[in-house]
């Protein structure tokens, strides 16, 4: 039967080399240095934005390389994204209440 196709896609074993690990490690160190440095400069509202942007970048690097998601199946990538998505719903929809409380009555 030609229909019998959907055996779960298996991904070949991909071994990430120490060189890649070392590069990511370096990037994480640099990221830490930049965060600390940036926090001492007065950028007004941009301070937290930059801090978070750097943190997100670092986290992404860890997820993609240390945690091998870059080399994993689509399913694994979707799984990670769905976690981030639900996290954002929790934070975003909760904050929508807190932010609009100050708008008062109509």
């Amino acid at each position: 039967m030609s229909e019998i196709t959907e055996v779960p896609e298996s991904h070949g074993e991909h071994i990430v080399s120490p060189k890649v690990y070392a590069l990511i490690f370096l990037a994480l160190l640099v990221g830490t240095a930049i965060t600390v440095g940036a926090s001492y400069i007065d950028l007004g509202p941009w301070n937290p934005v930059i801090a978070l942007a750097i943190a997100v970048t670092k986290a992404t690097l860890v997820v993609l390389y240390f945690m091998h998601v870059k080399y994993s199946s689509k399913l694994m990538k979707l799984t990670v994204l769905s976690g981030v998505f639900t996290f954002l719903i929790l934070v975003g929809m909760s904050l929508s209440d807190y932010i609009s409380r100050a708008w008062g009555q109509w």
Partner: protein, 243 residues
């Protein structure tokens, strides 16, 4: 059209670590990794509740959060970040060693990870201890006095901008979150280190360098996740308005 035709009539090899209900080792390994990721999703949501609380109160009580954040030692925090990132690196190297069947490499990577992890907790203990001495631990012993009248530096000037008393009491919210978040993180570290010891003993016996290293990989995922949490905690708790 027989629905009960056999899928695998040929006898496939059954290595010792392959459980009977999986068709082959690849399926077993994928399932395990997938399961671990689902577990990490629950961890994301678990910390998600804390991050929500943090964001709400940071917006409400920004001055209190700034003042609270300034009492943390940025050097210790940064040093801890370095320790944890390095431990993530050593853990990743451990995974590589087990993949490429380097037994002593794996053992030393795990030892390094354990030492770095314990170092992190040690520094955290020093930081916590200071908070106890300053009465900055939420609960009955909490005192916001040092935020209304900040301690003076050598020149007799206050070290930080004083807060009005009604804002100063809200530093307790900041410290509640500080302890809840770093505490939950520390609990995860302690669990992780306990597991690391078990893994260390087994890998010293050569367990994970024979081609079947799923356990090490799964633990690696956990350890990196704990690292990621700290990557967010550090700027959010230590680096509020430092200029």
């Amino acid at each position: 059209m027989d629905s009960h035709a056999t899928a695998h009539s040929e006898a496939h090899e059954h290595p010792a670590h392959l459980r009977h209900h999986f068709m082959d080792a690849a399926q077993q390994k994928e399932s395990a990794t997938f399961g671990m990721w689902l577990f990490l999703l629950t961890e994301i949501m678990f910390f998600g509740g804390l991050f929500t609380a943090y964001l709400v109160y940071r917006n409400w009580y920004y001055p209190a959060f700034v003042a609270g954040s300034h009492t943390l030692d940025i050097k210790l925090g940064m040093f801890n970040t370095l320790l944890l990132i390095t431990s993530s690196f050593t853990m990743a190297m451990g995974v590589w060693c087990s993949e490429t069947r380097r037994k002593s490499g794996l053992v030393w990577s795990l030892i390094a990870t354990i030492i770095l992890g314990i170092g992190f907790l040690g520094i955290k203990t020093i930081e916590y201890k200071e908070k106890f001495e300053l009465h900055h631990v939420p609960g009955s012993s909490f005192s916001a006095a040092s935020f209304v009248n900040p301690p003076l530096d050598a020149q007799g000037k206050p070290k930080d901008t004083p807060l009005a008393p009604d804002m100063a009491i809200h530093t307790e919210v900041y410290f509640s979150l500080y302890f809840a978040m770093t505490g939950m993180h520390a609990v995860h570290m302690i669990l992780g280190i306990a597991i690391l010891f078990a893994l260390l003993i087994k890998s010293a016996k050569g367990q994970y360098t024979t081609g079947h290293n799923t356990t090490i990989e799964l633990f690696g995922l956990y350890w990196h996740f704990v690292d990621i949490v700290w990557i967010f905690l550090f700027p959010l708790l230590y680096l509020i308005s430092r200029h």
